[in-house]
């Protein structure tokens, strides 16, 4: 979509609603290992869906900031979604550690795309005390019996590759990717559920 031709009716809002809700749930709601285990209905006093719509509204009020060259509209709103959560977290009274969000909010424009820009925010949700080396070693062990699953795992964790990039890079079919990805999800869920990864306080 051209930035210049941004009009309300040109946006596929159904895809945005489903896409951002999916991102939110994938990262937060159904994962006990992510953001603690208390996110089933409310998150800091609001439903997850409220944050999704807050992010959509924030985008709409600042739509001129969206740059299609840096990623899809859904990537951009996902990025706003996570920033809202981080910001909300940082201003909580119970947060005694630091309220400095400059680490995450500086130099956004310098990053090449929204997928990359969002990474510090995603990382910020994980506690430093967790032994990620051990988790990654277990994951590597878990995926090394199936070539396609291993390739998807390496493409993602090593290079942050997207679906189409992995398909192209490793010469697999879409169906092989989708099946492999499902198996990878099962492995990730099995391994990470053993760890009680607590949320970090900003």
């Amino acid at each position: 979509m051209d930035q210049e031709n941004f009009d309300f009716n040109a946006i596929k809002w159904d895809e945005v609603i489903v896409g951002v809700e999916t991102f939110a749930r994938k990262l937060l709601k159904s994962k006990k290992w992510f953001r603690g285990d208390n996110t089933e209905i409310y998150l800091k006093g609001k439903e997850l869906n409220d944050y999704v719509h807050d992010a959509i509204e924030l985008f709409w009020k600042n739509k001129e900031k969206y740059n299609p060259h840096r990623g899809t509209l859904i990537n951009f709103i996902n990025y706003y979604f996570l920033r809202l959560l981080i910001h909300k977290d940082s201003i909580e009274d119970e947060n005694k550690e630091t309220k400095d969000t400059s680490l995450y909010f500086d130099n956004d424009e310098a990053r090449s795309d929204y997928m990359e820009s969002i990474l510090p925010y995603v990382e910020a949700f994980f506690d430093e005390d967790v032994d990620f080396k051990k988790i990654m070693a277990e994951l590597e062990e878990g995926v090394n019996h199936e070539l396609i699953v291993e390739q998807i795992f390496l493409g993602r964790s090593g290079f942050g590759l997207k679906r189409r990039e992995i398909i192209k890079e490793f010469g697999m079919t879409e169906s092989e990717y989708d099946n492999g990805n499902r198996r990878l999800q099962t492995i990730i869920n099995r391994i990470t559920s053993k760890y009680n990864i607590r949320p970090i306080k900003l």
Binding site: D14, G19, R156
Partner: protein
Amino acid sequence: MSQLSKHKSEFAKLINTDAQDTSNDFTSAKEFLTQEGVNVDRLISDGLKRIKKMQLQVEAEKNRSAMLSLDKYVDRAKEMARQLLQSPTFSFLDYLKGEQVVASFSNLQKLTDEEKLSIIEKHITLKLQKEAGESNGF
């Protein structure tokens, strides 16, 4: 990057790419939400209502601030017009000529002071708006 940060970063990339990929693929995203027990049709229909309402609120807000901004110019224009008319050297006809305001001379002769004031106020209001628009890059 320390080893700890490296592994944490790899883990974050793994989770992020999966969440982003699925979220950008409408079919996969709907499948995922359905598996999560979400009524996707309802999610979309409720979401569209919220977005429509949001758009109307944003538009209303925009109109309200445009109105507030217009009020600001009108108040300033009134004050400037009053000061102009009070000036002993002020000539209405010279003013119109200097500002290149197009008007019919025969009609101008019949104008009351109140009507002259109103013309000057409107002219200054438009001028202030134009100047503000230009300075905002519109």
